[in-house]
Amino acid sequence: MEWLSEAISAFFGFTYYYPLFMAYLWMSGAWIYFLRWEKPFGDQVSRPPELAAYPGVSILVPCHNEAENIEETVRWLNLQRYDDYEILVVNDGSTDTTGEILDRLAGRYERVRAIHLKSNQGKACALTVGAMAARNEFLICIDGDVVLDPWASRWMVWHLTTSARVGGVTGNPRIRNRSTLLGKVQVGEFSSIIGLIKRAQRIYGRVFTVSGAVAAFRRSALQEVGFWATDMVTEDIDISWKLQLHFWDIRYEPHAICWLLMPETFKGLWKQRLRWAQGGAEVFLKNFYRIWDWKRRRMFMVFVEYCISVVWAYSMLAITLLWALGKVVTLPPLLQVRTLLPGWTGLLLGITCLIQFAVSMVIDARYDRRFGKTYFWIIWYPVAFWLINIFTIAVGFPRAVMKPRGKRALWKSPDRGLHKK
């Protein structure tokens, strides 16, 4: 029984050490990326590299019931520091006044074209129709509530023009709404976790996903993989895996900034994160058999990272249940969990989190000078992030398993913060 004792001990060790090691993995990867790819360009978002040519770009904006935001989004899109571009706004069966606003904007701005889908078909379908109607090979896809930095197109097109193997480029989303604690915590999250993970994954060679809020694509690459899948709840994760499994590179460009609105209620945040978790699981299940090919080995790191994160979520849940069960019944000594407080590991976790915040400050503050102000609030993030991760994976994974294949994923307008109430 000694092996069982050791196995259980390793299991408990894994649950405490996993977040710790991942933090260092992300930090070291992000640091390598920063020194190799980011630092040489300095901190000037408004100084992208000069391109040999400036090919035409089509900016696609799929939207559904975005009457409150779409006008601002389009006004900012007209300020892109790029000569040859068009803006295609795809109204996906909105039931509010989005359609009328789009027609007005198309009349007002020469670059703007309006596409109305008669019924709600989902974001993936709206993007695909946009890609079909686009005049240009390079597509930049943004959400209908996003403000794109005036220089973002140039940063993203730079990748697409300098390497023929780049199929997609993901940008750097920053959060606008910071009125509540949830808003402020997510500002920290996007820098200290998502930003570090994206950089680290570029060092792995493959990314888990492009940002759904801002990403650029080569249309011929999308065509090769059959465009966006209409039955996945997160079309961004799916398209990232499809492109990379077809040997297209996806780059991360931190200088390509966009400003977006995030949920500021627990309900809104839960729904959003659950969708992300379910979407990740759907893509994992869809590609489970395709990944076991030596030619696709560059995806292994991302695949393994995802598998471990799911195992960890269920392990943490099991430990918590064992601890709670131990309060009411007597468990075998091997399965007894005396406390959930991590002792010395807690000290290491505490120090690690502060180091992680510091690293993200050094790397990321150049893109958002107000970021430092959120440092006071970020202390919530490690616990909030890992707790949300546990519960959304625990609920989202079975949902993905049970979901009927081919069922179309439609969308609803999410919570956009306190100021929209």
């Binding site: 074209r113 930095d149 910071r178 065509q223 040997f247 002792g343 590991t345 107000r370």
Partner: protein, 174 residues
């Protein structure tokens, strides 16, 4: 956002004080109890965060003669326990970072200069027409139209693409 900002179409107005003008930080939208509650809770949570550091604090306290949090020393193996954990901790970090470094080096060596896609691909319009079941004329029309209406069948296939004119609107001259 104020009404004045909402209606402004002047690019200079939008870019003035960018990106600070995009940030929405409106504590005035929160009630005073909500505002104070958030701050108080976060302060308490910082306290909890440092509670995680109890083993270190207890060591220091012990060094100064305070025998508080004795259990951390006994139950968790005291400083030796910490050193033992540090061993695993640094081992894990070096192992994980080492794997990452090796993997990224392998990637760089194997794929850095290796580019099978030397040819710059562009969209194959014939394939595009086939993919969407459209004729060349329809696709060309789609590329030129200022306003389109697309209808779908129950199963999500495109059943019609209609080029429509933009309804007259008094603001269109904007």
């Amino acid at each position: 956002m104020t009404e004045q900002e909402h209606v402004s179409n002047n690019p200079d107005d939008l870019l003035e004080n960018y990106p600070e003008n995009l940030i929405i930080d409106r504590p005035d939208l929160k009630s005073m109890p909500f505002l104070l509650g958030e701050q108080l809770l976060t302060l308490i949570f910082w306290g909890f965060w440092f509670y995680l550091w109890l083993p270190l604090i207890s060591i220091l306290a012990w060094a100064f003669g305070f025998h508080i949090l004795y259990s951390h020393i006994v139950a968790l193996g005291g400083f030796e326990g910490f050193l033992k954990q540090l061993h695993v901790f640094f081992g894990g970090i070096f192992f994980a970072s080492g794997i990452l470094a090796l993997w990224s080096l392998y990637n760089l060596k194997r794929y850095g200069a290796y580019n099978r896609r030397t040819e710059v691909f562009t969209t194959d319009h014939e394939a595009l027409e086939k993919f969407f079941s459209l004729s060349s004329d329809q696709l060309r029309t789609m590329h030129q139209a200022k306003r389109l209406t697309v209808s779908f069948s129950e199963d999500g296939s495109i059943t019609g693409v209609l080029v429509t004119t933009i309804p007259a609107h008094r603001d269109n001259k904007g």
